[in-house]
Amino acid sequence: MADKTNNAVKLTGNGVAWLGYGLSIVIGVGLVLSLYRDTRHPWSNAALPQGMSTTQTSIAGGAQLFQQNCSVCHGNKADGNGIAANVLDPKPRDFHVGKYRIVTSGNGVPFRDDVIRTIRHGMPGTSMPGWLHLTEPELASLADYVMSVSHDSLKESLRIKLYSKSKLKPDVLEKKLNKSTDDRLKPEDPVQPGAEPAFTAADVIQARAMFTQTCAVCHGTDGKGMQNPEWRTDEGLPIASRNLRSGVFKGGGRGMDIYTRIYAGIPGTPMPAFNTLNNADIWRLVHFVQALAVPDGVEPEILKSTVIAQPATQPTARLSTKLQEVP
């Protein structure tokens, strides 16, 4: 009998204790949950502020995406100075300088599509990866954001350069500033490569001559690229000329891409725009450059003066650019 009561007391004692532990856990969970007050979850795409125009919305969304995906290299302020930048070569772009390398305009200013394309496909040979998993609107807002950074930066520098002593009313000044900035950032003279022509024997000889005369000055007669301590980008960083033998091109290795690079140049670098050359000449150079990419340890045949090209059967397919030794 005594035993039984003892047991009962023990059991209730245990029950109270368990209740206590359970309660303490519940209180703990409550405390933990109460720590999280922020209703905006950083994992979901945050709701953007209402009442803005589409462009502004796009820029704001792009800024958010930029912080998430790009700021590690390009920096929180898009100045190319992210914490991962120090190990990179070439350095990440400083969007305040606003010199976009891959453009399809003749005046060195990018179309919106140029920027989108570069973000989507990246720049081979650099640390800029392609962001294929982002959606088109996301890519577009990223482009809008970085272009707005360049725009604002240019506007501020114009304010200092042109209007620092002006006594215009603020709103008039702002209008003028916007106009002159927009004017400067208007891409013009888009590249028109046309249909890809065939690469004939006569073309090889011409192309080789042009290459040796012009391109070889920087890229070397063997196309391997060169170092020159005086070469600088517009950001003030040292730069070497592209090794054309590796087959790696920042803007892509398709015929059209290389055509565009020759036509539009690479803004911000010593690579000038050869937009005065005629269409056929550029295509000749394109084919010549493409033929320079050869397996390791082999000398490109096209550099030898005896080599001429076989007429291509499919003019648009650069893959059919076959080379043939003259007997």
Binding site: H121, P129, G130, G247, D296
Partner: protein, 220 residues
């Protein structure tokens, strides 16, 4: 809901084998796990102290007593060998065999991007028909892809969850490997070895295409 319901869809030819190995291990250790936990909890509730009931005096001395733990341990050993045998076969298939490749890709890792050099129709690298991309790997569906993995600076690790493929890229080495993707689509690629401050953005996309789409893409 259990552990493996989180496994992403397998799209590689050897993904099924690897998944079945994971399931095998899952079941084998699952049984042992439940057995052991079950015993722990059963004993906890069964052998509470009761007034007047002394604990058993069991030292486990002598082979007969010790066999209570040694026999299960030997059973564990048998399970181990089963897992080892199956695992070795799968490992051999994935890492030691090299089927005749249909397509060649050279993958060059650098801080913090993946560069893919698709060899093109001639199957040779550094030739005019190479297609070089940053961050997008294009392969035809159902074809054996041989890759050569290289790194320019630090150790990276090619990680394609859907392909069940992981391989470190070590500077100074060229590490070959292969895979065969069996479903068209876009899949994520990541770097799974810490490679510096930008490790967190070192992603890429695997694009599995039909042969005709792939050829089209090569020519474009």
């Amino acid at each position: 809901m259990h552990l493996f319901s989180w496994l992403p869809e397998s799209i590689s030819s050897y993904g099924r084998e690897m998944d079945s190995l994971m399931w095998l291990i899952y079941y084998v250790v699952g049984v042992w796990f439940l057995l052991a936990e079950g015993l722990v909890f059963y004993f906890i509730f069964r052998f509470r102290r009761k007034e007047g009931v002394p604990a058993a005096y069991a030292t486990g001395r002598g082979l007969k007593a010790a066999s209570w733990v040694i026999v299960p341990a030997l059973l564990v050993l048998i399970c181990d060998f089963a897992i080892d045998a199956r695992g070795e076969a799968v490992w051999h298939h994935i890492k030691l065999e090299m089927p005749t490749p249909d397509v060649q890709v050279r993958i060059e890792a650098r801080q913090f991007a993946w560069m893919f050099r698709h060899a093109g129709p001639d199957g040779q690298f550094n030739s005019p028909d190479d297609v070089i991309t940053n961050g997008e790997l294009h392969v035809p569906v159902g074809k054996v892809v041989r890759f050569e993995l290289e790194s320019r600076d630090v150790i990276h690790s090619l990680w394609i969850p859907n392909l069940r493929l992981k391989q470190d890229a070590v500077p100074g080495r060229m590490i070959p490997g292969w895979f065969k993707a069996e479903k068209v689509g876009k899949y994520g690629i990541g770097c799974s070895q810490i490679c510096g401050n930008g490790h967190t953005v070192m992603g890429a996309t695997l694009v599995v295409q039909t042969q005709s789409d792939y050829d089209q893409w090569l020519k474009k």
